[in-house]
Amino acid sequence: MKPEKLHDAMNFIDDELIEAADKLRQTPKSTRIKTTRILALAAAVLVVFTGVLVFARSISFDITSDSAANADGNDMPTNTNKTNDSTDLPDGTDDATDGNPSDMGASIKFEPLAFAANIPTPPNEHFAFYHKIFPTSVYLYFYTDAHYWPDGYTPDKSSIKAYTYSAENSDNGIGTVTLPLPEDFDLSYDSVTPIYANGGGGSSECMVVFRFDYGLESVFVEFNNFAYTDNILAFEYAGELEEEAVKTALINAQSKANTPTYHEGGEK
């Protein structure tokens, strides 16, 4: 049967049936679609809203956990060098050496700082990083046993030691790095240049070296497992480091550290 025949036959459909369909054509049921769409939209908004709430709650939970750890009396480790201007440190932060180095990995509190740095939990008890970019200083804790210098670079260790880090406990290798920043220090990418980065599988193989060119002298600091979090300068366990990420992190950090003042760090 040809479709034409069906078309011809359709001309013999009862008037009553045609009328019913025709009425529908004059007054379409568009409201049904609108209602469905509105319901679908409302459901989508609800799902997104719920997602945002859950996310917000999880963030809130993390912060609360960190705060709780703080309340347990785990002091924030900072440098204890007497030359440091401790008034520049935020309230509630103690010198690093006040803490028990052997507990460092477990007891360091990775709470958001003034710059909202989000520090994750260290991967193991022997590994601890901490940083602050206060208006005056950067503090780092790292696993000193793992550090080494890039090939071909012979640092002036005495100078570096004076300005960079010291091992606080040779047993567990936790050390403190203090990067003294001058008053006019401008923490921009130009002044902080990664010159050596070697991603690797183990925690001791991932290394980054920065040259902080802030006018006084170049200081080479060797980090182990340096990374960033949420585009804010932060340090955490990481196997790889992307230069662009560091750039972004440092630029963001710069915008946070408005007018840094010189704060001489020192070894313990």
């Binding site: 034409e4 359709m10 459909i13 049936l17 054509r25």
Partner: protein, 185 residues
């Protein structure tokens, strides 16, 4: 003007019957014609022919629903226009020439075709009555008024995807129904 008044004008052979029809149903019929021909000029021609056909049909016919009565005429005329146009495109082909030559000997089968169409129409009527209102209206909107999928979906308040699915199932059911009724499908 009420339909019965227009019909009375036809019966009294008043020429204002045409203008009254055009005023009330001109746009409606043009839409049906355009759905079929997809051509403005052809649609106008179909609608004008509809008025002429209505003039010739009334009397003796006295439609109870003028709107549907006219729509059927427009539909039939529009389909004829499309067929003629399609045939015109083939003019000059040997196939068409031989068809014309043969037609002269065996005559046209218009009467037979109309009877067949009527029988088939009755079967379709029965089939449509067995359907759900949505399926029935979808089928009529799409295959009687030849509304686009989009328009039909809008009329029925459903998505195009749902409409396509509904029509697919209805066509399949129709095929099975016609087979069962002894039609060659």
């Amino acid at each position: 003007m009420q339909d019965y008044e227009i019909v009375e004008l036809y019966f009294s052979r008043s020429e204002s019957a045409i203008s009254a029809t055009d005023e009330k149903y001109g746009a409606y019929l043009t839409k049906i014609a355009y759905n079929i021909t997809s051509d403005t000029e052809d649609s106008k021609e179909a609608v004008n022919d509809t008025y002429l056909a209505a003039w010739n049909a009334m009397p003796p016919q006295k439609p109870s629903v003028l709107r549907t009565f006219l729509s059927k005429i427009t539909r039939r005329i529009s389909i004829d226009i499309v067929r003629k146009s399609s045939r015109k495109k083939r003019e000059g082909s040997q196939y068409e020439i031989t068809l014309t030559e043969l037609e002269g000997y065996i005559g046209t089968e218009d009467t037979q075709n109309e009877i067949e169409a009527k029988i088939l129409g009755e079967a379709i009527n029965a089939f449509l009555r067995s359907l759900s209102p949505d399926a029935r209206n979808a089928f009529i909107c799409r295959y009687y008024f030849l509304d686009s999928m989009r328009d039909t979906a809008k009329h029925l308040g459903m998505t195009e995807a749902k409409l396509k699915s509904l029509l697919f199932r209805t066509r399949n059911s129709l095929r099975e129904y016609l087979k069962k009724e002894g039609f060659e499908v």
